[in-house]
Symmetry: C2
Subunit: 237 residues, 2 copies
């Protein structure tokens, strides 16, 4: 019985199978023991995600989903008076929406581990270099400080709901030079190194949920485990 | 209805979500329109794969699988009198096994496009550099010439069965320097460039099967398609 791990989120999830992406790393890590399923929606905030969560996972099996990551907030934290205001979601609503999303997931998969992930930090210089939609104001449409409030709210929702949490906003900022080592030129999306860090944090969280490689069985015999002199018997039912 | 694309094969499939891997490229390409499902089994030949094919795909949904790639032969082509003889499968049996695997897939998913892929070419110098299981004979356990016979047999099975075929053995060798640009130091597995070439060939085959990005719908509204002044209506059911 090969379980699935579902990745639900915004562009940081949608792009997670790009070069060096955290989703691809996960699929490679679990290549013989779990399916990693991508449900990433660029630009989405929790308001939109909570409206579509049921549809996003409708085609996935009712059983066999062992874990779900939920990564939203980067778009919710868009400032209400800047170029990307249509993505903004007020902080109290963000928390309600996160709870609503988790409720959908827990109803569908009662035994799955739900892992909340905060939005990553923002490098405002990058946002000015890559202004949203060709905005000419010279002002970043998101700031790290405001995104941090959403990150803390995400941690709070997880703690209140008894869910696992990866505070990648705080974690990344513990490393000097996080702005350029973990974030791309746009100050928002992850570099391969940033993806690697997030991948490792997800692996730790999955281990905590008893879903480590050591615990999950390989779905068929490993070549290294078979006796070369009597190989076929390992593959018979 | 988000379809699935299943990748069934040996190590060249199992490793396809590694750095720059063809499976990860596919999952990224279809991030909003299809699930890419990994069923790769390092070291397996068609004898073992035909015995486990039913079990390998047992947890996958009966519907919704739109395409399956089948990539075996590199291990079958191990020479019967060299270090990796336990993986060897005689050529006539290889063809029978491929047909048996395809029969399992077509029975389970009658409307899915089955795409056979030949084994890639082999650089024997790499095999001597990385001898199988510490073999000290100084002789490669596989040769490009013999692997080519399996590739041609694979093409033959596909033509006789009316299945799509990617002859990656021939395709790669059209490029001068294929030995080092497409194959890793071990002369057997793919570099990121080799993975890229295989990815592109799979995309062409999927397009031929009417499964291009242009044809498959995005599974939920694209952020770029919505009206910022009335966003929520795009997400309501």
């Amino acid at each position: 019985m090969r379980p699935s791990i579902v990745l639900f989120g915004d562009s940081i999830t949608e792009e997670s199978f790009g070069e060096g992406g955290w989703g691809a790393h996960l699929a490679n890590h679990y290549s013989r023991s779990a399916d990693v399923v991508l449900r990433g929606y660029s630009g989405y905030n929790t308001r939109w995600a909570s409206l579509v969560a049921g549809r996003a996972i409708a085609t996935l099996p009712r059983s066999a989903v062992a874990a779900v990551t939920v990564l939203f907030g980067a778009n919710d934290a868009s400032l209400p008076d800047r170029a990307s205001s249509f993505q903004h979601v007020p902080l109290p609503e963000y928390k309600d929406n996160l709870r609503a999303i988790c409720a959908v997931l827990r109803t569908r998969w009662p035994s799955a581990a739900v892992i909340l992930i905060t939005p990553p930090p923002v490098d405002e210089r990058g946002r000015v270099r890559y202004p949203y939609g060709g905005d000419v104001s010279g002002l970043p449409e998101r700031t790290n400080e405001v995104t941090g409030r959403y990150a803390r709210a995400c941690v709070e929702v997880a703690k209140q709901s008894g869910l696992r949490i990866i505070d990648i906003w705080s974690r990344m900022q513990k490393f000097p030079g996080w702005e350029t080592s973990f974030l791309r030129d746009d100050g928002l999306h992850l570099t391969p190194l940033g993806n690697r860090l997030l991948f490792e944090e997800v692996v730790f969280a999955l281990r905590d949920a008893n879903l480590s490689l050591e615990v999950l069985p390989a779905d068929l015999p490993l070549c290294s485990d078979i006796d070369p002199n009597d190989a076929v018997k390992y593959f018979q039912e």
